[in-house]
């Protein structure tokens, strides 16, 4: 169905549910909204109606259910609670509306972009024009590229316990976790879930990009108690009880790795740098691009993470993975092949390692 027709259907549904003083049963609703005649079966109508109810609730429509004493069965009836419908009249000033616009743009590239801009449209309907002159040009933005964000955000908002499979950073092992979500938070450009780990009986921090698909709720809405004195920020900055900052030692060749030198506060000609870091994967992604010009001396988990990236890249570009042309090495490679002497003996191992270790 075209979006315009769906909008029509939703609008007629809202008007029908707002205009009624009695509970409307599903069958009455089906008659009252002309667009429901498109449903060719009861099942099709049920599916449409379920989706429409959910959509209306997302938009803030106070949809309520109840039964009429005169009905013989206990099928639910529906209507909109008119007392709860209206946006309270607040006199927002033009400068305040500009700040609200800025707050809405925080989500512009994230999954809450829709709700954020809808909210702004509703507030604009109060009649004020925003005055942007007081804004100084600072535009904070977040993104929500992790697929786990949607379901975990909703569970946290609804205070519903969840279970999911999670890959632990230090060991790389994946295991099922049962969690009561408290707060979902963005820090250092990543999303984290802070909650109570039901098996470990302690607060834990989870990185959303390590949560596998398939998140299920294990309990009802509003069933998770959130501690009053929770400091999610402190938990995330020093997550899993580990110190927030560790130090890596990396040896650099030539002038490569200026970014690492900067991060280490080392002079431009330093060849061994001590880089503070909190996240192994993140630092590995900064070291790996330098290739043979960087060598991790310490710690071993960083070194392994960098090696895994290189092995993965090699396996993906090994002849045979491509268009099935074995050994099509052209003469155009850059002169970096210091390892050509024994590379063939190793092709099996890196491929296996990448298969197991890559995300």
């Amino acid at each position: 169905m075209a979006p315009a027709q769906r909008t029509e259907r939703l609008l007629n549904l809202v008007i029908a549910l707002l205009s009624t003083r009695r509970w409307l049963r599903k069958e009455q609703i089906r008659q009252a909204v002309p667009q429901y005649s498109e449903a060719t079966s009861d099942e099709a109508f049920d599916r449409m109606f379920e989706r429409d109810k959910e959509e209306l609730r997302d938009l803030g429509v106070p949809l309520v259910t109840g039964t009429d004493a005169a009905w013989f069965d206990d099928e639910a009836g529906y209507r909109v609670d008119r007392d709860a419908w209206e946006l309270p009249a607040v006199d927002v000033t033009p400068a305040e509306l500009a700040v609200l616009g800025l707050a809405s743009r925080v989500w512009q590239q994230a999954s809450l972009a829709g709700p954020a801009s809808r909210a702004l449209v509703k507030l604009r309907a109060l009649g004020v024009e925003p005055d942007e002159s007081s804004l100084v040009g600072v535009e904070p933005r977040v993104r929500t590229s992790e697929p786990a964000f949607g379901p975990l955000y909703a569970a946290t908002r609804d205070r519903a316990p969840v279970t999911f499979r999670y890959r632990t950073g230090r060991t790389g092992e994946t295991a099922r976790r049962r969690v009561e979500p408290w707060v979902i938070t963005s820090c250092y450009g990543r999303w984290y879930l802070v909650g109570h780990d039901l098996d470990r009986e302690a607060p834990r921090v989870f990185r959303l990009d390590r949560v596998s698909p398939g998140i299920t709720r294990t309990g009802g809405t509003a069933s998770v108690p959130v501690p009053e004195d929770l400091d999610a920020r402190a938990l995330v900055r020093g997550r899993d009880g580990a110190p927030a900052e560790r130090t890596a030692r990396v040896r650099l060749t030539g002038s490569a790795g200026a970014g690492l030198r900067l991060r280490a506060g080392a002079p431009a000609d330093a060849h061994e740098v001590e880089v503070p870091f909190a996240d192994v994967d993140e630092l590995a992604q900064e070291v790996a691009p330098l290739g043979a010009e960087a060598r991790v001396l310490d710690p071993p988990d960083l070194r392994d993470a960098v090696l895994a990236l290189w092995r993965g890249a090699l396996a993906a570009h090994e002849p045979g993975h491509q268009s099935g042309q074995p050994g099509h090495h052209s003469g155009q490679q850059t002169g970096q092949q210091t390892g050509t002497g024994h590379e063939d003996g190793r092709t099996g191992a890196p491929a296996a390692a990448a298969g197991g270790g890559a995300r």
């Binding site: 909008t7 707002l18 009252a32 959509e55 938009l59 803030g60 709860a84 419908w85 209206e86 946006l87 607040v90 000033t93 305040e96 509306l97 700040v99 609200l100 707050a103 925080v106 512009q108 590239q109 994230a110 809450l112 972009a113 709700p115 954020a116 801009s117 809808r118 909210a119 449209v121 509703k122 604009r124 024009e129 100084v136 600072v138 535009e139 904070p140 933005r141 977040v142 590229s145 908002r157 979500p181 963005s186 250092y188 900055r237 560790r246 130090t247 061994e272 691009p289 290739g291 310490d298 710690p299 071993p300 090696l307 990236l309 890249a313 570009h317 002849p319 099509h328 190793r346 890559a358």
Partner: protein, 370 residues
């Protein structure tokens, strides 16, 4: 800057075009209609252009919205039941819309998104006019009512991604419109540069801060990552950028590469899909062989840049063509492994017991100092 500009976000988040629900956008449009009707009812005869501007839509879109209202109404849907809408004269008149004459309250996600956004701004102290910010917070909380309760479940910690000293200098120069002198690391070329810039916009994305500014050295708009600013100093000079300086949206590229730049085909796994959203690409197609993965075509002027990107992605990205570039990546990875593993054989015969060696002075690492 338009608040209505949200299209790209939904598409980027979804697992693929197939994941987008049919009729997506119907809710947003309904929400706008429900906001627009009370506004129009109180302003009978308002000019089409003024109404469109107020809701940040085109007049064509506004007319389409009015046409839609015109065929909706109370059950029965006889002529008397339908909403009356008239706009032929260029002025909008609405009637028979009593059921939806009052503006709809905020939904839970809507209230949450704005409240979390405002708290984030409040966290970045000194960023905005604090009276307006406090007023907005108070009024939004009042307007949201019960819907505000869940807002504590989301927190954004953006201050963590920047050096407070550099951030303060840049922010100060921006608010006073003063020119800045920067010492800046160009990471892709591995070199340090000195330049004067007129600050235009300070943005934070994915935990990093960026300054968009008119660069006097390059005579163009450039974007600077604050964590690569080695030193920033406010100059005693006006920092109003020239009129030709136009800020771009973060996430878009400042340059559109020309046709003369070679085309590279890259396969991305789901885990590397973000690349398609953060570098300029010619086109993106879903990969049937990898759920959530995409194939992108992009113009690459610098082979080294692409090689570094693919090494960083560690197998989640594969250069499909040109083959010579794929070979370069493989060669670079092989060389890196050879260097690292050569070292490994000499110095680290045992690979399994270093779990606790994070500290700074384990006996192993100390051996190769010097």
């Amino acid at each position: 800057m338009s608040p209505a500009r949200t299209g790209g976000a939904g598409g980027g988040r979804a697992a693929g075009p197939g994941a987008v629900a049919p009729g997506a956008g119907a809710g947003d449009r309904l929400s706008r209609l429900l906001a627009m009707v009370p506004w129009l009812l109180e302003r009978q005869g308002v000019a089409l252009e003024d109404a469109a501007r107020h809701f940040a839509i085109s007049t064509d879109q506004l007319v389409a919205d009015l046409e839609l209202l015109f065929v909706c109404g109370t059950p029965g849907h006889m002529p008397d039941d339908l909403i009356e809408a008239e706009w032929e004269s260029g002025h909008v008149y609405l009637g028979n819309a009593d059921a939806i004459a009052r503006p709809l309250r905020l939904g839970q996600d809507e209230a949450l998104a704005l409240l979390v956004g405002l708290r984030t701004l409040a966290d970045l102290q000194g960023v905005e006019d604090s009276a307006a910010l406090e007023g907005a917070l108070a009024k939004l909380s009042a307007a949201a009512g019960d819907a505000a309760a869940a807002a504590g479940s989301v927190q954004l910690d953006l201050a963590a991604g920047a050096d407070p000293g550099v951030l303060a200098v840049v922010r100060g120069a921006l608010s006073r419109s003063r020119r800045l002198h920067l010492r800046y690391l160009v990471a892709t070329r591995d070199e340090t540069t000195e330049r004067d810039v007129d600050p235009m916009e300070l943005e934070s994305l994915d935990g990093r801060w960026y300054l968009q500014a008119w660069c006097h050295r390059a005579q163009g708009v450039r974007r600077f990552r604050l964590d690569r600013v080695l030193a920033a100093e406010e100059l005693d000079a006006d920092g109003t950028p020239p009129p030709e300086a136009v800020a771009r949206d973060l996430g878009s590229s400042l340059f559109a590469p020309g046709d003369e730049v070679p085309l590279v085909v890259l396969d991305l796994d789901a885990g590397a899909r973000w690349v398609a959203e953060s570098v300029p690409v010619e086109d993106v197609t879903e990969r049937p062989d990898a759920p959530g993965g995409v194939r992108v075509r992009l113009r690459v002027a610098d082979d080294g840049w692409l090689r570094r990107l693919v090494l960083r992605l560690g197998g989640a990205a594969r250069v499909v063509s040109p083959p010579a570039l794929a070979d370069q990546v493989a060669a670079a990875a092989r060389a890196a492994l050879a260097a690292a593993e050569g070292y490994d054989e000499d110095e680290r015969p045992d690979d399994g017991d270093e779990r606790r060696a994070d500290g700074d002075g384990g006996p192993g690492p100390a051996r190769h100092r010097g």
